[in-house]
């Protein structure tokens, strides 16, 4: 049967290249298995639930399942209703469905797997339900300052488990997660991550918050990759409410996003060189990073571009003479990076030190890994090339792909991607046109968006899906428009969430030293996992 015939009876709509299906079958598991084995939808992106309590529908929850055929680049979103049970509980085609299910149970109380992931084990209720009321936990409130001084608190539960410091701590974000490792002869036989120690519930706040306010907070999700998350959010909301932005704004946003990629890659490289005690290389990467921060501070007053993107534009225009300083920075930085590539590519000792085991491309697809890690295993998949947004289709750059899937490939990909980003920035700096910086005056923006959501609510679409290539991989955004509040659900698909989960399978058989090196190159941003 052809694909169009197969989905014909279930078809709902096709928007922005995403095919929405409402499957009307009894056995949903068999339907999805067919999509996977026969039609090649082997890549799971996201699974999440929406609580429709106030809409007076028959079933309370609507569940979204986003899958993709990587070869043909077609996206399918399956929507099905639920009343507290998950119809695809037994589905185990994809490895990365496990954490998605756990998150869904944790936040919405759906499904058979009753293990929490983001909140504490003895948490009462499910925080993302619309009728959730928080009740203070008694155990937490007892521990206080006097108990610590008098040492009356006993921590027997926590001291039993082994601790491993995975990488040096950064001030820029809160790297904190726990790795429980079983090992024999310094080789990892089983690895288990525990996350949620910096969980803030940002997505819950975004539901009721004006999108203009959300822009200021959303960059907390990935602080290293600067304003990429807010760029994605602005892009999606502008698409939803029909605001057009000028070419000047688009190009400035693209420049800042590419600087974000450079920044994030430099962080992971410095961590690697720090681990290996290569002080001379580390000093060079820190030098570039500090210069980059000075450059960015001139634009927005903040080293990390806090609060830069707003809906319909950017907050500040680039200052006079800034673009020539950029070129100055790039000429100096690219010299250092090219030097690093030359030194590292020819150095057999260094290569032997870090290469480690190789990652299978099939394993990486069924684990849903994204970004440089996916590309290192030999799969040429970059959203900037495959689904170009903004001006990426007109630019001249290359997607870097690895061969062996080793951590050495990952290192080379990161170094070459910094070069490619600089190449992109140079092309963009040449073509900055004149134009407005924001479509509305910034003081009126809040009221304007409020008005649009109140008066034109019926004409707005019910959901918007969008994605960009962030520095660690594909970052997706799912907005479901609500009736009482702005959004019924805001879901952000972050690269580190899948990459960290996939690491549980990837690292089996590695020795602990290579695990340290590999994980500093994958560059988990725990604020992306916990949100």
């Amino acid at each position: 049967m052809e694909f169009s015939q197969f989905i014909n009876t279930h078809f709902e709509k096709e928007v922005d290249g995403y095919i929405f299906l409402k499957p009307q079958v009894e056995d949903l598991n068999a339907f999805i298995a067919d999509l996977n084995y026969v039609y090649g939808f082997n890549y799971l992106l996201e699974l999440f639930a929406v609580d429709l309590l106030n809409q007076g529908k028959e079933n309370r929850f609507e569940i979204y399942l986003h899958i993709r055929n990587l070869a043909k680049n077609t996206d399918i979103i399956l929507k099905f209703m639920s009343d507290g049970e998950l119809l695809i509980d037994d589905l185990d085609i994809w490895e990365n469905i496990d954490w998605a299910k756990r998150e869904m149970y944790d936040l919405h109380g759906i499904g058979k797997i009753k293990s929490r992931i983001l909140t504490t084990r003895n948490f009462n209720g499910h925080p993302f339900l619309k009728d959730f009321i928080f009740v203070e936990d008694e155990v937490q409130s007892i521990i206080g300052i006097d108990d610590v001084r008098n040492k009356t608190v006993i921590y027997s539960e926590h001291i039993k488990e082994d601790w491993y410091e995975i990488k040096p701590f950064e001030f820029s974000d809160d790297h904190f997660f726990k790795a429980l490792i079983d090992n024999y002869d310094d080789h990892i036989s089983k690895i288990h991550f525990e996350v949620g120690y910096t969980h803030q519930g940002l997505e819950k706040i975004f539901e009721t918050m004006n999108p203009v306010q959300t822009c200021t907070l959303i960059d907390q999700i990935s602080p290293q990759s600067l304003n990429q998350a807010s760029m994605l959010f602005c892009k999606a909301v502008e698409h939803l409410i029909g605001v057009t932005v000028s070419d000047r704004v688009v190009i400035i946003r693209m420049i800042m996003a590419e600087f974000g990629r450079i920044n994030s890659h430099l962080y992971s490289l410095t961590n690697l060189f720090n681990l290996l005690n290569v002080d001379s290389f580390m000093a060079e990467t820190i030098q570039i990073k500090d210069r980059l921060h000075i450059l960015l501070k001139r634009v927005s007053g903040s080293r990390f571009l806090k609060n830069y993107n707003v809906i319909g534009g950017v907050r500040f225009d680039i200052p006079l003479g800034w673009s020539s300083d950029c070129i100055d920075f790039i000429t100096k930085a690219s010299k250092i990076i090219n030097n690093l590539i030359k030194k590292l590519a020819g150095n057999l000792f260094f290569k032997e030190l870090i290469e480690g085991k190789s990652l299978d491309s099939k394993l990486s697809i069924y684990n849903g890994v994204t970004g440089p890690l996916l590309r290192s295993s030999g799969i040429n998949y970059d959203i900037r090339k495959v689904k170009p947004y903004y001006f990426y289709s007109e630019l001249d750059f290359e997607a870097i792909v690895g061969v062996n899937g080793q951590s050495y490939d990952l290192l080379m990909i990161k170094l070459h991607e910094i070069n490619q980003s600089m190449r992109i920035i140079l092309q963009l700096l040449d073509n900055i046109p004149q134009g407005k910086i924001h479509s509305q005056p910034i003081d009126r923006l809040f009221d304007y968006v409020n008005e649009v959501f109140q008066t034109q609510k019926d004409s707005l679409r019910s959901d918007v899906i969008d994605s960009i290539e962030s520095s660690n991989g594909e970052m997706g955004l799912y907005l479901v428009v609500g009736q009482d509040s702005f959004f019924e659900r805001v879901k952000i698909k972050t690269p580190s969430f899948v990459n960290l989960q996939a690491s549980q399978n990837i690292f089996k058989g590695h020795d602990i030293d290579s695990f340290n090196i590999y994980s500093s190159l994958i560059n988990y941003q725990i604020s992306e996992v916990d949100r």
């Binding site: 909140t119 504490t120 948490f123 925080p127 959730f132 928080f134 936990d137 937490q140 521990i143 206080g144 300052i145 610590v148 040492k151 608190v153 921590y155 539960e157 926590h158 001291i159 410091e165 040096p168 701590f169 950064e170 001030f171 820029s172 974000d173 809160d174 904190f176 949620g196 120690y197 910096t198 969980h199 803030q200 519930g201 940002l202 819950k204 706040i205 907070l217 410095t270 720090n274 002080d279 580390m282 000093a283 820190i286 080293r303 990390f304 806090k306």
Partner: protein
Amino acid sequence: MIYHFHNHFKKKNYLIEFNSELDTSDVLFVHGKLNRKFDPYLLELYGIMRKPCYVIQLGSAVGLNDYCRSSVLGDKIPVDLIIPGNPPSPIEIYQGLEMLIAKIMKVL
């Protein structure tokens, strides 16, 4: 960052040395939003550290949601110094450390 910072300012002040071992260090840095899930670990860390020890809080970011937000750090463990900024720059942290040293010297 601590390692980079250490290399940066090593020559200037011999009193400051960065270390990740709990039994030999005097100052505990706390940064970021405090979470209910993280609380037991923070208190455990503070309990293990040798006394007297000093606590420096970087930034004063507070979580937004009730269900995951922990109370202010000062209610949990005694805080000696708060350095504002999210995140504070290396120079600001260095100045903060110098202030802490001056404070300790006064007491001595």
